[in-house]
Amino acid sequence: MNFEAVIGLETHVQLNTESKIFCGCPAKPRTGVSVADQEINSSICPVCTAQPGTLPVLNQKVVEFALRAGLATQCSIRSPNVFARKNYFYPDLPKGYQITQFELPIAENGFILIDLPSGEKKIRLKRIHIEEDAGKNVHYGPYSLVNLNRAGVPLIEVVTEPDLSTPQEASQYMKALYALVTYLEICDGNLQEGNFRCDANVSVRPIGESRLGTRVEIKNVNSFRYIEKAIEYEIHRQVEMIRAGKRIVQETRGFDSARGVTQTLRVKEEAEEYRYFPDPDLAPIVISDRQIELVRVALPELPRDHQKRLESEYKLSSYDASVLTTDKTLAVFFDQCIAYMRPKAKPEADVPSLAKSCCNLLTTEVLRFLTENQIEMSEVKITPSDLGELTLKWVAQEVSSTGAKKVLEKLLSEGGSVELWVTKLGVKQENNDGELMKIVESVLAENGAQFKEYCSGKDKVIGFLVGQIMKKTGGKANPSKVQMLIADIAKKSG
């Protein structure tokens, strides 16, 4: 019997507003301070610590950000939409309830398109709603302490229909949503700090079966790779259980990335009881058509439009274009490189080949550098004009591939100009025909036997000849140029 998986994702997107959702406390640490380094309980006030008698006042920026997300995903906007209280006890939840949206969320019925080898797929969104984050419990030996810096930080939760069928689709969706919220500039997108975290609902059923299987929720996965691994493992586990005649238990599981497995966090013996009801402290949010229009016209270019533009304008493959547009800073950086190169490129040099070369440097060398050094695109020292300049030199064969990579490494880590590093590293390629010709001629003369073999049709010998010339020039000669010169001389002498 063959099985298929039914997957739905719920993503918590931390909004990057200045202040918290219901009070004036800063929503994030000072620039340059990570959440982990922020002093414990330094961004709190009577409201977000739920002192008796305090009341929430909605930060209007949150509504605007949620509207951006809703409109960018073709959702219908609900007005009025209503805050509800989700009642439960946990030490990191100061009020004893979370203010969220339940029956009447701000946005519903949208979709996100994802790329698959088989083409485009539409993933329907059930809803997007606004809510507040909770604090964080910290455990010190026998003590449990609560850090409320995060309590009241605004979130949107984006909930899909169960439209995803494979782990790859889930990670593609996660990437597409990530690209969207960073393009919309409503989320800082710092995955390590939990700015963007997914819960996956996974069930399996025999192919052909219309009823859904028992659903298992995998909580808090914050990486594109882990979501794929977690779901892959979970599908496998569920199928094996069914094959072994066991029953799937409805439960919440966590993903252990070190071991690559999901593990039980808690079993839902009965339906959870959150006693939702409309929050009497907050008026329903009324959104006018005018407000919707203002947000709509101000929407920036979305990642998918950007990707399509890169494909059509620069003939980039859809793979290359999608890698660039997963991260807005990267894609914008790329656009700026092109803008630098365009006026400087020789008429005969075509923009698509410049674009392809620049894209290769970005998506292989630069991304590798970022991963290796655990930094963000915004933190590197290189500027778009540097990378543009380097690409121009590389395409014009003034530096070799190896040379270009060496220069790039320096630009990323230390900054400085392309010219400076090309000279310093001595990677300028010799392109002067006259100078080069002399060296070629002398080398050919020194290796007369091999040259004769070449002239008589043994093409493979060219490698040896070029190698000798490169040796003599200390690697500075342009190998394809050398090859052309040898061919010329052979032709003349033949």
């Binding site: 009577p46 610590t49 739920a50 002192q51 008796p52 008698g53 305090t54 009341l55 929430p56 006042v57 909605l58 209280r85 009642n87 006890f89 946990y90 030490p91 100061p94 009020k95 004893g96 309830y97 609560v146 339906a271 009881e273 006693r275 939702y276 009801f277 009497p280 402290d281 907050l282 008026a283």
Partner: protein, 489 residues
Amino acid sequence: MKNSQTVLAFQESWLAEPRVALDKKIAEYLGSIVVDQTGAFLSQVAETKLRSQAETLANELKTQGEKLFKEKPLAGVCIGIKDNIAVEGEQLTCGSRILEKYRAPYSATVIERCEKAGALIFGKLNLDEFAMGSSGENSAYLKTSHPTHPDRVCGGSSSGSALAVAGRLVDTSLGSDTGGSIRLPASFCGTFGLKPTYGRVSRYGLVAYGSSLDQIGPLSNSLSDLELMARVIYGSDPRDSTSVQTELAGWNSEVSKSANPRPQFGFLADNCLEGLQPEIRLQYEVLKEQARSKGAQVSEIDLGFLKQSVPVYYIIAMCEASSNLSRFDGVRYQSRAAASFEASKLDEFYESTRALFGSEVKKRILLGAFALSSGYYDDYYLKAAKVRRLIAQELNQVFQKIEAIVLPTSSTTAFKKGERQTDPVKMFLSDLYTVVANLAGVPALAFPHSKDNEGLPIGFQIMGPGFSDEKLVIWAEQYLTQAIDVGAK
């Protein structure tokens, strides 16, 4: 000698002798508080603080003269605060063990307004725990007694607020009214009490019981004092999203000019007055004649929904309370049961601390949590919310035809202590005439009228449409109150 001056009268005498009058008044009040037997105060502000505030005010009065009262209309006014309203640095027990050691780190908006207006805050007043109760018998601290009849209750939940005013321990006080909690004790104790239009007084700093019903309001011995307080505490507040965010929130002293000189008052028909204590029934007729003789137009109205209003009120209030009181979990506020330190599971931790709630509070949390749970939500909370809207609509229709409704505050005068503790239904019915104003969000003013055969105060209330607060004060003064002082003493 107990002070029976109105604030305005006091300010006039104070003006004549800035050095003496306020000091004398403070001394009198402090003396009265010391000997008080009614259980009005839970805590007092340090006398040195009061004295230094008084000195500053006296100096300002000397230099500014009468102008001071323009800038600070409550200059020299001694007030008490129900202990569910936050005053920075002071206790905020809500009459509960669960907040025994808590001190408010901030002040309620009404407190900031009163302080800015020159009021002297004397201390925190007793109340039914978390404002839940109609008799004043549910405080976890001091027992309360009726000011003139010690075997009787004083009414709740703003028990201390009524006692402090009736016993002349302060000039005026602030209470809170969720289903009659200002008006009921005011009537039992023979004082005035105002439940404002919902949203005209900020709730910021009032510990929530039923958030959609709660309003802070003043209690006093005269209508002029009541209006003086209202003028200060009314007004929109950006910190309370449910506060009216226009200038309509503020108290409008110009209203008197536009008030109808021959207002139409509705008095309840017989079927709405079943079970009313005979003396109250009689005095209601007297009041009707009095209003008519003073020039008001009087008609009879049938508020058929009164009976539904009590269950609707309790469902909504308890549902909101069950959620509002979730924050008292032992994690913050320095309130933690000793047993919680031994807890091995999170549930045990919560159970041990939440056991500190009194039985009335526990009952309401349990009932509210039940009514909100899935499977019951539609039948209870949702249905109650719908009926609430219908009641508000019907009431609004009534106000299309008449300008205000004059009705009893309670079916009885102050009852005997313990009498209703074992009969929750009878206790809940104490709120029959008061909860409608909260459900509909409209203002209601309780005023003293007469006394029953035992000498217990009989009070009535006048309820108008939303934003008629100012008119209620004018009408009560012109048509409904008698010239003689009917206060407790």
